[in-house]
Amino acid sequence: MTELTPADRRFVTFDLDDTDREEAGLNGHTIEQLSDYLDRGGLPADPSIDDSPDCEIALRGLERLRRAQLSLLERDLKRESLRNDSWVASVLENISLEAHAGREIPLAHSSPTARLVVTEGAVRGILRETGDRLENILVGRCVLVGDVSVPGEPITISVDATVFPGQNIPAVAEQLRQAMYVALGKYTELVVAAIDITVSDLYTAPDASAHEQER
């Protein structure tokens, strides 16, 4: 069934406790199982994970999230400060939610017998990766809003992001927007009317001096 999310409504339908729904989107696996699989270095090989594009997209998202966490942890340790990892849970939820194939987005071909599509999951995956490739920003949520199954129908992209310390938020958001336009142009034939970016989390390392005073 096609589900559309109005641009003016926050996407809050995903429940981490709903494992049935999560497993349905990840080829029978939960995000925790995929995380364990990553810990084990993909051994022993599990074809039901390795051979699922949805799981691959989720695994890559998990890997990028872990790299970002590690980088922030190193910064925090240098500052002898405490970390606030609440944003990680939010990103984790969305990796799981967005990895599933979702709707089919048509690609043109002159032959009447051709039916070419790219899945919504593949597009969200590459958009997330495009954002995560930029420094100091991590994509938390990415939603294609509108009827992506109709060629030529204008749609919008709604993105939530976490920005890291010391960044000019409008500049980072504009960088993300441009990178996403390029990716959408390369991998889809969607007519993108707008990319709406909401910086919903600011990663702020606690003040080390304040922490010292508390001791």
Partner: protein, 109 residues
């Protein structure tokens, strides 16, 4: 001489050879337990069984291929190349009536 119809295994090879394709996934339902061939996967496993699905309907042959593509290629270009490669292979292998060739890009990069 009777026409030789391509097996889905041959179609797998045709799809894998297309520039820009880096993975091939089972196009049928998961419960069919078809083994997938994934090129460039982290693990090394034995060559897999066919994963491109070919069925014969009253209106002709239907072929479905689910692929992953490299990030340096456009999804439209690669999927069109895959379609054209399948269509050419069918023509060379008996030229059956084709009802539909479906190409699904399921992963990018």
């Amino acid at each position: 001489m009777s026409p030789v119809h391509p097996s889905t295994d041959e179609l797998d090879q045709v799809v894998r050879r297309v520039a820009g394709v880096n993975s091939l996934y089972p196009a049928g339902p998961l419960r069919a337990k078809v083994v997938t061939a994934t090129l460039g996967a982290l693990t090394h496993r034995l060559p897999a069984a066919s994963v491109v699905v070919r069925t014969q309907g009253a209106d002709g042959v239907r072929v479905t291929a689910k692929i992953g593509i490299t990030a340096d290629e456009s999804a439209g270009e690669v999927s069109r190349r895959v379609h054209d490669a399948i269509a050419a292979h069918l023509r060379q292998s008996g030229d059956p009536a084709v009802a539909e060739i479906t190409v699904i890009v399921a992963r990018i990069g």
